[in-house]
């Protein structure tokens, strides 16, 4: 009998290996939980890695307060169901001082409500390792990132000076205040994630499935009507059959027109897709090399 793993099984084995290495070698690991499909997969892998025990780290959600209502509902229900310890951190001070995406623009808003909030939460928890669900196929600067991505005591990434990473031997050594961002899904593609969700029957936020939703149609973009999004002159809300391909904050996450209301239909749609996953994410395009810059500053 040929003993060959399928592509998904091989990815799963690799990711579980990474999760266990981190749990074994770091003092205080934490898992960044963004509620999206990649987080759902990452959590399932963590459940498998430490079965029958619970996974030995908490989940951390950086809540900008601009997430979809359905995301927050899903988060609370899901974490309660699986018995995970969830920490929610929000940059209250910035919000109190009036930070919002409409006034500040996306770059500054992300800087305060996501990057700053994340760095503060890491420091507050004394975490020396944080799992993230980012994948290398998502964006060009991510293609260069290590599985173990070293961050200095300011939380910054230096892409030109990354630690060599060979075989499955990861370097987990950090000094006080430094940390490692760990990406167990580095080698997964968007299609792999959906195929795994189907295979494993993993729950995801309903926003991924198509149904008629109230949207502002702005050029080719579909912007969800939530959080008092300011309308341009002449714009009005329309009911559009659509779904989210990736999830973020509502003002920066466009929907796509789609009829795919099941995982199987999403996979079929993806095979036909000719547009990239993060195209609808405003923050990736706010300036040249923008994801690389955000990552250098400590964003995921």
């Amino acid at each position: 009998m040929a003993r060959i793993l399928t592509h998904l099984q091989a990815l799963e084995a690799e990711s579980i290996h990474i999760l266990r290495e981190v749990a074994a070698e770091f003092q205080r690991p934490v898992m960044l939980y963004s509620i999206g499909k990649d987080s759902s997969v990452m959590v399932r892998l963590a459940q498998k890695a430490f079965y029958p025990g619970p996974f030995p780290f908490p989940l951390l959600h950086i809540d900008t307060s601009y997430k979809f209502r359905e995301m927050v509902e899903f988060r609370d229900r899901f974490c309660a169901e699986i018995g995970a310890r969830l920490i929610v951190h929000t940059n209250r001070q910035a919000l109190a001082e009036g930070a919002n995406p409409f006034r500040l623009g996306t770059q500054k808003c992300c800087g305060l409500l996501k990057t700053r909030a994340l760095l503060d939460a890491m420091a507050a928890g004394g975490y020396d390792a944080a799992f993230g669900g980012a994948r290398r196929d998502e964006e060009k600067s991510r293609a260069k990132e290590r599985v173990y991505s070293f961050r200095d005591s300011f939380g910054q990434w230096d892409p030109k000076n990354q630690r060599p990473e060979l075989w499955n031997l990861f370097n987990s050594r950090v000094d006080k205040g430094e940390s490692i961002r760990v990406f167990p899904l580095s080698n997964w593609t968007e299609l792999d994630v959906w195929e795994y969700i189907q295979l494993e029957n993993i729950p995801v936020v309903p926003l991924y499935f198509a149904r008629p939703r109230p949207m502002v149609v702005r050029g080719e973009m579909l912007i969800p009507v939530e959080h008092d999004i300011p309308l341009l002159p002449g714009e009005k809300t329309e009911l559009v059959m659509c779904r989210m391909r990736s999830l973020g904050c509502t003002p920066c996450t466009g929907a796509i027109r789609s009829e795919a209301d099941t995982v199987a239909k999403i996979i079929a749609e993806m095979r036909e897709f000719r547009r990239s996953e993060r195209e609808n994410r405003v923050i990736d395009h706010d300036q040249e090399g923008s994801m690389e810059l955000k990552k250098r500053e400590g964003y995921f």
Partner: protein, 487 residues
């Protein structure tokens, strides 16, 4: 850039329809200035790389065809990035070596082939690129093939070779077979990638499970978690725990979806054992019939990755499988000239240099030669002060233990026979030796401080058919080595 690597990868992605429309629009915008579609822009990563037009670091690209899924480690070709190339090669099953048809087999191509082979890649696709610039002439291609074959012939354990004439720019023989080279009857590059047999590496060593983590949610469950480095395991199979040497059996293989009847490399599993033997991270479960070599010192090929040169003076941390321990380079045997493969005398290895070294670990580790198993045969060296990963090594073999230094103390462990242990202890005491018995190991700290210790391990049952004779044999061994004098 110069040999067209980015264009080739861009072409593979583009022609296999892995490129999204918005990404294409992005590069159309960027190439509008000089017309045509510059596919090399698809693989651009970091700002510094775009600014300098070179690849600095490994980038990973993903594409799939209906037949296979591919992960491309896109590595820089320049000599100053040898370490990045080694990084990319460490997890690859196949390497594509790109040769510019106009320039033939350059030092660089030889270096690429050597590093790929060194890191254990068994298949090389040699894409002779820019055939359009040599009028698609067969003799250019043939000459390059011959040249390259001659070089690879000098490498020990040479990989399989597949030569393909291509033009990444024009798309010849990349995804579809070209009509412009009717003299070539082989597959296009993608065709080859889709069909080459990458049968799982023959597991030439037996079952190996480096222990990553012990799962103990309650008193009733104790699972040994890890990723199989090699072999197959089933419930009921006997296993040996290293380094303790305790033998036990696998009771079950546990997963969230139920118990497994069998697990094989490279699965990540959780194994429950028959008895409550002492097992912790860094240990390894192995098959009793086929054990790895025990090595305090081992010969290895080392790729140096740090600005500060490797020398026999600095102490390092060694990470091997799931354990990290102090180690040092005892001797740099020689540096390997990566162009000629010749050995050069050397006192140190500088950044991007490769050499043969003798490494000593603070305590024995269990290894397989790298060519037989990548996971139990590889290691990295870390700088304890800066925390950097400074070297990556491939183990050739365990070195014979060195008894040049007269040891005056012995750490003796006796497997599975306490009677022999106590009889030996009594005999040693009668002989005037001081003896310290520790439950699982013997330590000796004399009045002079820590004395040289030889580590000897005896399997009493294998040594002799009765206990008294086993003690005789061990006693003889100790006198023979000069550890003790017979009074």
């Amino acid at each position: 850039m110069d040999d067209g690597k980015s264009t080739l990868i861009g072409r593979l992605l583009y022609d296999s329809q892995t490129v999204y429309e918005d990404q294409l629009a992005g590069i159309r915008k960027a190439t509008k200035a000089h017309g045509g579609l510059d596919l090399s822009l698809l693989t651009d990563g970091l700002r510094a790389e775009r600014e300098q037009g070179i690849t600095i670091d490994v980038a990973y690209r993903y594409f799939s065809t209906p037949r296979r899924k591919f992960i491309i480690a896109d590595t820089p070709g320049h000599e100053q990035y040898t370490r990045n190339m080694a990084t990319g090669a460490s997890t690859a099953e196949l390497a594509i070596v790109l040769i510019d048809a106009r320039h033939g087999v350059l030092a660089q191509s030889r270096r690429h082939a050597f590093i790929a082979t060194l890191l254990g890649i068994r298949h090389l696709a040699i894409a002779v690129n820019k055939m359009d610039l040599v009028e698609y002439r067969e003799e250019v291609f043939t000459a390059i093939c011959e040249d390259f074959r001659a070089f690879v012939g000098q490498i020990g354990n040479p990989p399989d070779l597949q030569f393909i004439p291509v033009s990444a720019l024009c798309g010849d023989n990349v995804v579809t077979r070209s009509k412009r080279m009717p003299w070539y009857s082989g597959p296009a590059l993608l065709e080859y990638l889709e069909t080459v047999s990458i049968a799982p590496e023959k597991h030439e060593v037996g079952f190996r499970l480096p222990v990553q983590y012990v799962i103990r949610p309650n008193q009733d469950f104790r699972g040994i978690a890890g990723q199989l480095a090699s072999g197959v395991i089933r419930p009921g199979d006997p296993v040996v725990v290293l380094p303790s040497g305790r033998e036990t059996r696998v009771r079950s293989i546990v997963t969230r979806e139920g118990e497994l009847a069998e697990a094989f490399a490279p699965m990540s599993v959780t194994v429950c054992l028959d008895e409550e033997v002492d097992v912790s991270r860094g240990d390894m479960l192995v098959s009793p019939q086929d054990r790895p070599e025990r090595a305090l010192r081992f010969e290895a090929t080392l790729v140096w990755m740090n600005e500060k040169a490797a020398s026999a003076v600095r102490p390092f941390l060694l990470k091997h499988t799931t354990q990290t321990l102090p180690a040092r380079i005892v001797e740099i045997r020689h540096r390997i000239d990566i162009h000629t493969l010749g050995a050069q005398p050397a006192d140190e290895l500088r950044l991007n240099e490769i050499g043969a070294v003798l490494v000593e670990a603070q305590r024995p580790i269990f290894v397989d030669p790298y060519r037989r198993n990548r996971f139990t045969g590889s290691f990295i060296l870390l700088d304890a002060l800066t925390n950097e990963t400074v070297g990556a090594g491939m183990i050739e073999r365990a070195a014979a233990e060195n008894f040049d230094v007269a040891a005056r103390s012995a750490a003796i462990s006796i497997e599975n026979n306490p009677e022999v242990l106590w009889m030996l202890a009594r005999r040693l005491v009668e002989n005037g030796q001081r003896v310290v018995v520790v439950s699982n190991q013997l330590l000796h700290v004399g009045p002079e401080g820590i004395l040289p210790v030889v580590e000897l391990s005896f399997n009493a049952d294998a040594l002799a058919d009765n206990s008294a004779r086993a003690v005789d044999r061990i006693f003889q061994e100790l006198t023979g080595r000069g550890v003790i004098a017979q009074n």
